[in-house]
C-alpha cells in the first residue's frame, strides 16, 4: 500500500496536468464551497447549477463525430453532483452518465445532506464512486483525490469498482477508519459501512 502511494506521488509530481472536476449543485452556497474545497486541493474546477447543464458541458447530445474536436483540457476526470436538485436529480444524472458509452468511465460522486441507506445503496449500485454526506469536508476531497489518482495511474477502473462493491458487503470498519459522521442516524441493526468512508 505504501509503495503504491509513493508511486502515485512520483507520477503526480512529474505530471503537470491537473485533474479536472465538474461539480454540479443547485445551491449557490454549496457551489462556492465545493469550488473552494476543490481548488484548495489543486483540482481544476468547473461548476454548473443543474444536471442538464452538466450534460451540455460533457457534450452529451452532440453528434458522435463532434468528439473529435474536443480538446484535452476539457476532459473531465471526476464528476461530483448533489443528489437533490430540481429537474434532473443527481441520481438521474448518474444514470445518464453511466449509460453513455463516451462518459461511463468518468467516476461520479454523489453529495447529499441525507443519510439514507437505501438511497446510498441505489447510488452505488448504479455505479457511483462514492456518496458523501454534506457538508463536504476538505478531508473528503483529499481522500477522493488520492483514490482518483490511483485509478488514473493504474487504469484499473472496472476492477477497483468491482472490488469496492464486493468489499462493501462484508466490511466492518475499525473505528479509526470511520468518518466522524453521526452514525446514530443509521438503523441500529445495520452492519453496513459508514457512508462517508471512501469505498475505494
Amino acid at each position: 500500500m505504501e509503495m503504491m502511494n509513493i508511486c502515485c506521488d512520483q507520477i503526480t509530481s512529474s505530471n503537470s496536468k491537473e485533474l479536472h472536476v465538474l461539480a454540479v449543485d443547485d445551491s449557490n452556497i454549496d457551489r462556492k464551497v465545493i469550488e473552494r474545497l476543490l481548488k484548495v486541493s489543486s483540482f481544476k474546477v468547473t461548476v454548473v447549477d443543474s444536471g442538464s447543464r452538466a450534460l451540455q458541458y460533457l457534450g452529451l447530445g452532440l453528434e458522435e463525430d463532434d468528439h473529435s474536436t474536443r480538446f484535452d483540457d476539457l476532459k473531465v476526470n471526476l464528476i461530483m453532483t448533489d443528489y437533490s436538485m430540481p429537474g434532473m436529480t443527481g441520481f438521474e444524472l448518474l444514470k445518464k452518465i453511466k449509460n453513455s458509452s463516451t462518459l461511463r468511465e468518468i467516476p461520479v460522486v454523489i453529495m447529499s445532506s441525507e443519510n439514507i441507506l437505501t438511497r446510498i445503496d441505489r447510488c452505488l449500485e448504479e455505479g457511483a464512486e462514492d456518496y458523501l454526506l454534506k457538508p463536504v469536508k476538505l478531508s473528503d476531497v483529499t481522500r477522493l483525490k488520492d483514490s482518483i489518482l490511483k485509478t488514473e495511474n493504474t487504469g484499473t477502473n472496472r476492477l477497483q469498482s468491482y472490488t469496492r462493491k464486493r468489499k462493501r458487503n462484508d466490511d466492518v470498519l475499525p473505528a479509526s477508519v470511520c468518518g466522524h459522521q453521526d452514525l446514530s442516524m443509521s438503523p441500529p441493526s445495520s452492519s453496513q459501512t459508514s457512508p462517508t468512508r471512501a469505498r475505494l
Binding site: 462556492k32 464551497v33 473552494r36 484548495v40 445532506s113
Partner: protein, 138 residues
C-alpha cells in the same frame, strides 16, 4: 496595546459564537479554506447565506399564508434552508429548521407557523452576531 486587545476581542467573540452553539465545526472548515489569496471567503459565503435565506423566508411566509397548506413546497424550502445553514455551520438555525420539517411531516400548519417563528428568531440573532463579528474582525 490596542492591536492585542482587538485580537483578544475577536477571539472572544468567535469563541462565544461556538460555545453558545450558534456555530459548529463547519464554520471552522470554512475558515480553514481562507488564505491570503482569498481573505474574505468566509464573509462572502456568509453574505450569500443571508441573501439566500431572506428570499427563502419570504417564500415560506407566503406559502404559510396560502390555504390549503402546501406541505411539499414548505418542506422543499426548508430543505434548502437546512442545506445552506448546514453549509455555513449555522447550528441553531439548522436545529429549528429540523423542528419545522417535523411539523411539515405530520402536516401540522399551526406547528409549522410556530416553528417558523423560531427559525426566524434564530436567523435574526445569528445575523446580528455575525454582522458584529465581521465588523470586529476588520
Amino acid at each position: 496595546m490596542e492591536l492585542n486587545q482587538m485580537k483578544r476581542q475577536i477571539n472572544f467573540a468567535r469563541n462565544s459564537l461556538f460555545e453558545q452553539g450558534y456555530l459548529d465545526e463547519q464554520f471552522t472548515q470554512l475558515e480553514d479554506l481562507q488564505d491570503d489569496a482569498n481573505p474574505n471567503f468566509v464573509e462572502e459565503i456568509v453574505t450569500l447565506f443571508f441573501s439566500d435565506s431572506m428570499r427563502l423566508i419570504r417564500n415560506v411566509e407566503t406559502a404559510l399564508e396560502n390555504y390549503p397548506t402546501d406541505f411539499c413546497k414548505l418542506d422543499d424550502y426548508m430543505h434548502q434552508f437546512m442545506g445552506s445553514s448546514s453549509s455555513i455551520g449555522a447550528k441553531k438555525v439548522k436545529e429549528e429548521c429540523t423542528q419545522f420539517q417535523e411539523c411539515c411531516r405530520v402536516r401540522n400548519t399551526e406547528g409549522c407557523r410556530r416553528a417558523f417563528q423560531r427559525v426566524k428568531q434564530e436567523h435574526a440573532t445569528l445575523k446580528r452576531k455575525l454582522e458584529t463579528y465581521f465588523q470586529v474582525s476588520f
